[in-house]
C-alpha cells in the first residue's frame, strides 16, 4: 500500500472519486491484453493536464513508480504495473477539443478512443488513418505510445505518420509541447517522433494534434484464394512492384482459414493454402483500372478463385473471415501466443514459409495471418496452458522466429511493442551501444526512472 500522506495528497489532487485503492480495484487494473499481471497500489484517474503534472511531481517526491494507461489493450504488457505504484488511467481525459478542416487536423485529449475520433471526423469527410483492430477501445494516447498500425497502413502508414504535435507531461511534472503545438514549430527539432512507440516511458501524453486524412471517394474489396502460400506471397510482391498501393493487404494461411471456416461455415475450398484479402481506395474515375490490374496479377499468379465485393454487405462478409480469426482459434487450442515480427516486404513469402516449417519442426500448430502489405506477420502459436511441455516448444519456436526475422533485416515487433514480453530479445536486435544510447535518452527525460520502469529497457 502507498504511504498514507501520499494518498491524502493524491486525493487532494484528483478528488476522492478519481482514486481507487481497494484490493479488488487493484485486481482489475493488474492486467492489459497481454498475459502479464502485476497489481498497482493505487489507480488514479486524472481529468486534466494540470492534475497529471501534480501527480508526477508527487511521484518524483515520493519515488513512486507511475504507469500510464489508456484502454489497457496493450499486447506486450506495457500497461501493467510491474513495480506497483500508481496506475495512471487516462480514460477520463476523453474530449475532442477541436476539429479543424482548413489545416485538416484534430486536437484530442489522450483518452479519446480511436473509434470515437473516427466517428467525429467522418461526417466531415475525413478519417484518422491509423485504424488498429483494437480501435473500439484503444485510446489515441495509447496508439501514439505504441505507434499503432492498422489495416489501412499499407497506403496510409502508421500512427507516427499522423501525429503533428503533442502536449506531454515529463516525469518531473513539467508540461511541454512538441511539434506543431510547440512555439517554434518548423524551426526547432521536432521531438514528437521520439514519443511515438515510447511505451509510456518518456512522459505522459495528454493532448495530441493529429493529421486527418481525406476519406477516399470509393473503395473496392477483393479476396483471392491460392493453393500455395508462396503464390500468395508472390502476388503481394507483384502488386507492390506494379506501383499499386492498396489500402489493405492481408494474408491468412491454411490453419487460420480452416479454423475460421469451421467456425463460420464460409465455404472456403479445403485445399486453400492461403487467402489474400485486398482493398484499394481512391477516386471513382481511377479505381476500376486499379482493380483490373490487380485481378490480372491474381490470374498470373494462379489464384484458384477471386471474389469482389459488390456492396457493403458483401464487403462485410469478406472481412468477417479476417476479423473472426483470433476468436475462432479458440476452437483448436485454448490459448495462443501471437508474434509481431516484421520483415522487408520482399522477404514476406520467405518468412511465411519459414514459419510454416517451424511449426512442423516443433510439432505445434501455428496459424498465420499477416499485414502482408507491410511485411508484418502475426503468427499465432497455439498451445494448451495445461501442457507446460508444449508451451516450452512454443517459446523455442518463437525464439527461432525472432532470430530469422532479424536475419532478414526485419524487426522483433511491428506494432505491439517490446513491453515486458520481448525485453529479453532486445539484445538480439540491438548492439550494446544502441541500447546504451536508448538508456541515455531515457535517463535524460526520466532521471529517477519512475515512469513505466522495466518496459522497453532493462534498467
Amino acid at each position: 500500500m502507498l504511504d498514507k500522506h501520499l494518498l491524502v495528497k493524491l486525493k487532494s489532487i484528483v478528488g476522492k472519486e478519481d482514486i481507487l485503492t481497494s484490493k479488488i480495484s487493484r485486481e482489475v487494473y493488474a492486467y492489459d491484453s497481454s498475459p502479464f499481471i502485476h497489481e498497482p497500489e493505487a489507480v488514479v484517474f486524472p481529468e486534466t493536464t494540470a492534475e497529471v503534472a501534480e501527480i508526477l511531481k508527487l511521484s518524483e517526491a515520493y519515488s513512486i513508480p507511475v504507469v500510464p494507461r489508456g484502454a489497457g489493450t496493450c499486447l506486450s504488457g506495457g500497461a501493467v504495473s510491474l513495480y506497483g505504484g500508481i496506475s495512471l488511467v487516462l480514460t477520463k481525459m476523453d474530449k475532442i477539443l477541436d476539429i479543424d478542416t482548413v489545416n485538416e487536423t484534430a486536437l484530442v485529449e489522450t483518452g479519446v478512443t480511436n473509434l470515437n475520433l473516427q466517428k467525429a471526423v467522418e461526417p466531415l469527410g475525413f478519417m484518422f488513418a491509423p485504424d488498429p483492430a483494437s480501435q473500439k477501445a484503444a485510446t489515441i494516447g495509447g496508439n501514439v505510445a505504441e505507434c499503432a498500425g492498422g489495416i489501412r497502413g499499407v497506403k496510409y502508414g502508421v500512427t507516427k505518420d499522423h501525429v503533428l504535435g503533442l502536449e506531454v507531461v515529463l516525469p518531473g511534472g513539467e508540461i511541454v509541447t512538441t511539434g506543431a503545438l510547440a512555439s517554434g514549430y518548423g524551426f526547432i527539432p521536432d521531438l514528437t517522433g521520439i514519443f511515438s512507440g515510447s511505451e509510456g516511458t518518456f512522459g505522459i501524453i495528454t493532448k495530441i494534434l493529429v493529421k486527418l486524412t481525406v476519406m477516399p471517394e470509393t473503395m473496392r474489396t477483393m479476396m483471392a484464394v491460392f493453393d500455395s502460400l508462396d503464390k500468395a506471397g508472390e502476388a503481394v510482391s507483384a502488386i507492390i512492384a506494379k506501383g499499386i498501393v492498396p489500402t489493405t493487404l492481408e494474408i491468412m494461411d491454411k490453419s487460420m482459414i480452416r479454423a475460421v471456416d469451421d467456425f463460420l461455415k464460409l465455404g472456403f475450398p479445403r485445399d486453400a493454402e492461403a487467402v489474400l484479402l485486398l482493398e484499394v481506395d481512391g477516386y471513382e474515375v481511377e479505381i476500376d483500372r486499379q482493380v483490373d490490374v490487380i485481378e490480372e496479377i491474381f490470374r498470373e499468379k494462379k489464384a484458384s478463385s477471386v471474389q469482389s465485393a459488390k456492396d457493403r454487405t458483401e464487403r462485410e462478409k469478406l472481412w468477417l473471415a479476417r476479423r473472426s480469426g483470433n476468436g475462432a482459434l479458440g476452437r483448436i487450442k485454448p490459448a495462443y501466443m501471437v508474434q509481431d515480427i516484421t520483415v522487408p516486404r520482399h522477404r514476406l513469402p520467405q518468412m511465411l514459409r519459414f514459419v510454416s516449417d517451424i511449426s512442423k519442426k516443433y510439432d505445434i500448430t501455428i496459424a498465420q495471418m499477416a499485414h502482408a502489405g507491410d511485411g508484418n506477420l502475426h503468427p499465432h502459436l497455439l498451445y494448451d496452458p495445461d501442457d507446460p511441455e508444449e508451451f516450452e516448444r512454443v517459446e523455442e519456436a518463437s525464439h527461432e522466429i525472432f532470430e530469422t526475422a532479424l536475419k532478414m533485416d526485419g524487426t522483433l515487433t511491428g506494432e505491439h511493442g517490446i513491453g515486458l514480453e520481448k525485453l529479453p530479445f532486445m539484445k538480439l536486435q540491438f548492439s550494446e551501444k544502441d541500447i546504451s544510447f536508448m538508456k541515455r535518452v531515457k535517463k535524460a527525460l526520466d532521471t529517477n526512472l519512475n515512469l513505466n520502469k522495466g518496459k522497453v529497457l532493462e534498467l
Binding site: A180, G184, E286, I418, A444, L445
Partner: protein
Amino acid sequence: MQIKDKFFAENPQEIAQKVIEAADEGFGIVPCGKGTNIEKYLASANKPVVMISTERMDSIQEFERDNLSVKVQAGITLAQLQKELHEHDVFLPLTVESHGRRTIGGLIAENEAGYEEYAYGKIQDYVLGLEFVTPYGEIVKTGGKTVKNVSGYDFTRLFANSLGTLGIITSITLKLRPEVEKRAAVILEVPSLKEASEISKKIIQEKLVTVTLKGYKDHENDKWRLIIGLAGFKETVKHHLQKIKKVLGSLNYSELDQAEVNGFWKEYYQKFPIYEDNNIVGMGDKRVLFKIAESCEKNNLFSQVAFSEVDFGAGKLIIKTPKETKETIKESLLAYNQEKFNFSFNFQKPQPGLIYKKIKTALDPNNLMFPNNRLTGGEYLG
C-alpha cells in the same frame, strides 16, 4: 573562430575516431555535407572547431525496389539519388529543383521539404532507419528497413531539424513511393492575394489530388500568381483539372503538362533562391496564414519586398526583403501571431524546448556538437 581541421570521412569508423579525438581536445565538432554554407556561421564560434564532412560517403548501399526502400550514405546528394531512383520508377518526394545539390544528411538535419510538401510532407516522414555517430563517438543504429517497427525507441526523427547538434548521421534508410502516373498544374494571375487565398480555400475543400498550392509574387512583376499542382492517376488528374476550372470560373489560367511543370520549378528556384539570410520565414496554422496574407496586402506590406511566397497548402510564408526593411516587416507580421489557435504560426528565432535541452545535455554535456548555431548558441544551453 578557428577551423582546426576539415576532415573528409570515408566511413563511420573514421568519423567516430575523429569525434573522440576532437572531444579530447575540447574542440567543437561541426558535421557538414559540402559545408559550403556553413563556414560563415562559424565566424562567431566560441571555441575552435573541427569540421567533419560526409561528402565522400556518397554511395547507395542497398536499393530494394520491391520493398520500396533505399539505404544511402549521408553524403549522397539528392540529385544523385533521385536520378538513380527515377530509372526504377520510384521517387523520394523531395523535389530536386530546390535542393538538388544538398546531401541527404544535410536535408535531414534541416528537415527539408519540396514544393510538393502539401501532399508529401517533409523528409523526416521518409526516414525508416538511421545510423549515426554520437557525440561520444559511438556508432548507433535506430529503426531499420521495415515500414512498421516499434522495437526499442524510435530515434529516426530525432535528427530532423537537429542542425547537426545531436550527432553525425552516417547512413539513412529511406521509404520510397512508386512514381506517380501523371503531373499537371494550373497557373494563373490573380487580381490580389486575397483572391489567391479565397481560391486556395476552395481548392482545399474540393479534396483533390493537389500537391502544390502556392501564391507568389516577384518585384519585377507586381502581380500575384497562384500555382496549383496535381499528381496522381491520369484519369484523376484530368478530372480534377476540370474541377479546378470550375472553381476558377471566368479567371484566365494556363495549364502545364508534366514537362512544363518541371521546367517551371527549375526556373522558379533559379529566380528565387529560398535560402537567404534576409528571408523571413514563417510556418504553422494555415488559418493564421490566410489572415496574415490578407492583412499584409491590405497594409501594402508586400510592395517593399523582393519576393514572397505564400504556401497555402503547407502553411508556410517566405518573404525576401532588403535588410533595411526586414525588422519592420517582421514586427508587423508578429502582430498577427497573437491569434489564439491550437497551434501557432512562428516567425521568431525560436528557443528549442525543454525536451531538446534535456536530451542535448545528456547526449553532449560539453556542448561540442555545432556549438554556436541557432539551437546551441547564445544563452540557451547555458
